[in-house]
C-alpha cells in the first residue's frame, strides 16, 4: 500500500496522530503557538461525526473534555503558556477522578505572557507539579513530525491504559516547523481502546476498584451503571470519604499506577550512543540540534552520542543511569534554566559530571551553542 505523505506543521502531525488514535472530542481556547491544533480539528472532527468546541477559556476547555471523556470519548485539548497554567486545576481533577485525557502544551517562553511566538521548554516542571497535591503524571515529547504523530498516539494509549491525563510537551519550533509526515496505515501503530466493564446491568459495578492488573474498567455516562465521580477522596463506589485508610490507599494507587510502570511508559531514542564518551541528553526541538552536532562530530571521529528522551514524566531514572554511566561527561541540552538537568544529576552516580547546555532567549539552541558548552567542559575552549 502506498503511504499518504504530507508536508505539514508539527501541530498538524499532532492532529493527525490524535485522529489516528481515535480522538472524537476536542475543546480548546486559542493561544499561540498551539492554535493550529484547534483550527485543524474544527475542520476535521465534524467530518467524522466528532465534536469540536471552542470554550470561553482554558479552564472550561479542560473541564469540557473531562465531561466528554466520561461519556466514552477519547478527548484532547491543546494550549500554550498561560493556558497551561489555567488548565492545572482540572488536570488535578482528572488525576484524582482517573479520567483519561490528553493535553497538548506547545511550549512558548514564560513566565506570564512571556514570549508567545518564540520557542522555550520552560514548562517541564509545571507539567509534573502544576496542579496541587501529591500525584503522578505522564508527559511525552518529540523532536520531529513522525515522532509527534507517534507520541500523540502513545499519549492516548497511555491515558486509556492508566486512566490518567497525559501531557504532550511540544514546543514552538517543532510545532510550527513544516516537514514531511508519513501517515502510518491503519494497524501499523497500536491503538489502545477504552477498557469498559463487561458487567451486565443489575450487577454491582465498582468504578474505582482496580482489577488485579491495576486497571479500572470504565462505564460510559448514559450506560446502565450509574456511579459517582468526584474530586474528593473517594471509595470504590466513587463516594466521598474521609476514612484514613481509603485516603491512604487511593493516593498510593494514583502514584503507584504510574511510578511502578516507568519501564512501560518510558520512550526514548539513541543516536550514536555505542561507545559514546560524551552523552548529550536532550528532548523536543533541542534534541534536533544535539543530533545534528553528534552527526557532524561522529564524522570526525569524536565519540559523541545523544540520548533523546521522548517521555519526561515519570522521569526515566534507570535509563539515564544505565546510558550515562560510562560517559566522561553528560551534557543536558534544553531551552530553560535547567529543569531536566536536575533530574539527570539526581539519577547518575557522578552528578558533578553532568552539565547544562541551555538557551533561554527565544532562539532555538543551535549545534554551535551546544558545541561551545561541550568544549568548555572538555577544557578545550570554544
Amino acid at each position: 500500500m502506498t503511504k499518504e505523505i504530507r508536508f505539514v506543521q508539527g501541530n498538524e502531525a499532532c492532529v493527525e496522530g490524535a485522529l489516528y488514535a481515535g480522538c472524537s472530542f476536542f475543546a480548546g481556547y486559542p493561544i499561540t503557538p498551539s492554535t493550529e491544533i484547534a483550527e485543524l480539528l474544527a475542520a476535521r472532527l465534524p467530518q467524522h461525526g466528532g465534536t469540536f468546541i471552542q470554550m470561553e477559556d482554558e479552564i472550561a476547555a479542560m473541564s469540557a473534555i473531562i465531561g466528554a471523556s466520561l461519556t466514552g470519548n477519547k478527548v484532547l485539548t491543546a494550549t500554550s503558556g498561560p493556558g497551561f497554567s489555567l488548565k492545572q486545576e482540572a488536570i488535578g481533577y482528572a488525576c484524582m477522578a482517573e479520567v483519561p485525557c490528553v493535553v497538548a502544551n506547545v511550549q512558548r517562553g514564560g513566565p506570564s505572557t512571556g514570549n508567545p511566538t518564540h520557542v522555550a521548554q520552560g514548562d517541564i516542571n509545571q507539567a509534573r507539579w502544576g496542579t496541587h497535591g501529591d500525584h503522578s503524571i505522564i508527559a511525552l515529547t518529540a523532536s520531529n513530525h513522525q515522532d509527534i504523530f507517534k507520541m500523540t498516539v502513545d499519549a492516548f494509549n497511555l491515558a486509556e491504559t492508566y486512566r490518567t491525563p497525559v501531557i504532550l510537551l511540544f514546543d514552538e519550533a517543532v510545532g510550527h516547523l513544516r516537514a514531511k509526515l508519513e501517515i502510518p496505515t491503519e494497524g501499523e501503530l497500536d491503538v489502545v481502546d477504552r477498557l469498559r466493564t463487561s458487567l451486565p446491568e443489575g450487577v454491582n459495578y465498582h468504578p474505582y476498584l482496580p482489577r488485579e492488573d491495576g486497571r479500572l474498567p470504565m462505564s460510559d455516562f448514559g450506560d446502565s451503571h450509574r456511579y459517582n465521580v468526584t474530586g474528593l477522596f473517594h471509595d470504590m463506589w466513587g463516594f466521598p470519604t474521609a476514612d484514613p485508610t481509603s485516603i491512604n490507599d487511593l493516593l498510593h494507587h494514583l502514584v503507584d499506577k504510574i511510578e511502578n510502570n516507568v519501564a512501560d511508559i518510558t520512550r526514548y531514542k539513541e543516536h550514536f550512543m555505542d561507545d559514546a564518551q560524551y552523552v548529550l541528553v536532550s528532548y523536543g526541538s533541542s534534541a534536533r540540534s544535539a543530533i545534528h552536532l553528534a552527526t557532524e562530530r561522529r564524522a570526525r571521529g569524536e565519540r559523541l552520542g545523544v540520548l533523546e528522551l521522548q517521555s519526561i514524566w515519570p522521569f526515566p531514572k534507570e535509563l539515564i543511569r544505565e546510558k550515562c554511566d560510562g560517559a566522561r561527561a553528560v551534557l543536558v541540552c534544553e531551552m530553560n534554566m535547567g529543569q531536566v538537568v536536575e533530574h539527570v544529576r539526581a539519577a547518575v552516580r557522578k552528578p558533578n559530571r553532568v552539565f547544562l547546555a541551555n538557551r533561554v532567549d527565544g532562539k532555538l539552541i543551535t549545534p554551535l551553542d551546544i558545541k561551545k558548552f561541550l568544549r568548555m567542559i572538555q577544557g578545550r575552549g570554544a
Partner: protein, 266 residues
C-alpha cells in the same frame, strides 16, 4: 417510580444542617423528574463545590461532582458528547455566579440544552458564611462584618440577557411552584435557569438575624410576589417570582449536528 428510588441510600445521612433549604430543592427536583418519568440512566447530574453541590451524590443518576464553579463547563462536555442525555446542573450562588460566572453566561449564550438550578441562599454556606455575588448591599457575612457594599446580580435578568431561553425564579417556600418550574425547565429545549431562593439558617439566617428555617420561609413568602401580580405592582421592592423567559431558539447541540452534516458533505 417512588421518589425513594431516586436516592442513593448509601450516601445518607446527608451533610446538610437541620432546616437547610437544599433538601427541599432536592425533593422538588426528584418530584419533577418522577412526574416527567425520565429513566435514571438518562440523567447526568453535574455539580461544582458547595453545600448545594453535594446534591449530586445523593441521587441515583450518573453523577459528576466537579470543581468549584466548573460544573457547567464539565456539563457542556457531557451534553455535547451525548446530546440524548438530560443534563441537570444544580449550583450554589457562589459556585454559579462568582467563580463560575463566566461559564454561566457562556452556557446561557450558547443556549445548550442543559438545566441549571441556582440554589440561592445568598451566602457561601460550605466555607462558613462569606458574602456571595447574590448577597446584596447591607448583608452581614463573616467577610462583611460591617455589612456588604457589593451590589447583587439579578440572576434572572442576567441569564435572560446572556441568552438563556427559559428563566424562572421561585423559593423553597413555594414547593409546588418549584416542581412546576423545574419540570418546564427540564422539558425545555435550550438553556434553562431556575433560581430557587433557599435558606441557610446556619450562616445567612444567623448573621442577618432572620431567625430559624421556619422564619426564613415566612420571609420568602412575604418578600416575594408573582410576576404580573397586583401585589408586585403595588410594591416593587418585592422580589418577583415566576417565568421570566420561555423562548424557542436554536439549541446548540442541534446546531452542531448541522455542522456535522455540512462538514461530511465536503
Amino acid at each position: 417510580m417512588a421518589v425513594q428510588e431516586y436516592i442513593r441510600e448509601r450516601f445518607f445521612p446527608q451533610m446538610w444542617c437541620e432546616g437547610c433549604g437544599h433538601g427541599t430543592i432536592l425533593n422538588s427536583l426528584l418530584r419533577a423528574i418522577e412526574d416527567l418519568g425520565i429513566a435514571k440512566s438518562d440523567i447526568v447530574m453535574t455539580s461544582g463545590i458547595g453545600c448545594s453541590a453535594r446534591i449530586s451524590g445523593y441521587v441515583d443518576f450518573h453523577s459528576l461532582h466537579t470543581m468549584h464553579g466548573r460544573a457547567l463547563a464539565c456539563a457542556t462536555g457531557v451534553k455535547m458528547a451525548k446530546p440524548a442525555l438530560n443534563v441537570i446542573v444544580p449550583m450554589g450562588d457562589g459556585d454559579a455566579l462568582a467563580i463560575g460566572g463566566n461559564h454561566f453566561i457562556h452556557a446561557c449564550r450558547r443556549n445548550i440544552d442543559i438545566t441549571a438550578i441556582v440554589m440561592n441562599n445568598r451566602i457561601y454556606g460550605m466555607t462558613g458564611g462569606q458574602y456571595s455575588p447574590l448577597s446584596g448591599v447591607g448583608t452581614m457575612a463573616t467577610t462583611a462584618p460591617y455589612s456588604s457594599i457589593d451590589n447583587a446580580f439579578d440572576v434572572a435578568e442576567l441569564a435572560k440577557a446572556a441568552g438563556a431561553t427559559f428563566v424562572a425564579r421561585t423559593t423553597t417556600y413555594h414547593v409546588a411552584e418549584a416542581v412546576t418550574y423545574l419540570k418546564k425547565a427540564i422539558q425545555h429545549k435550550g438553556f434553562s435557569v431556575v433560581e430557587i431562593m433557599t435558606q441557610c439558617p446556619t450562616y445567612y439566617g444567623r448573621k442577618n438575624k432572620k431567625g430559624d428555617a421556619v422564619e426564613m420561609l415566612k420571609w420568602f413568602k412575604e418578600s416575594t410576589a408573582k410576576l404580573g401580580s397586583k401585589e408586585l405592582e403595588n410594591n416593587p421592592s418585592l422580589i418577583a417570582r415566576g417565568i421570566f423567559a420561555d423562548e424557542d431558539k436554536p439549541e446548540y447541540c442541534s446546531e452542531y449536528n448541522k455542522i456535522i452534516e455540512r462538514a461530511s458533505r465536503r
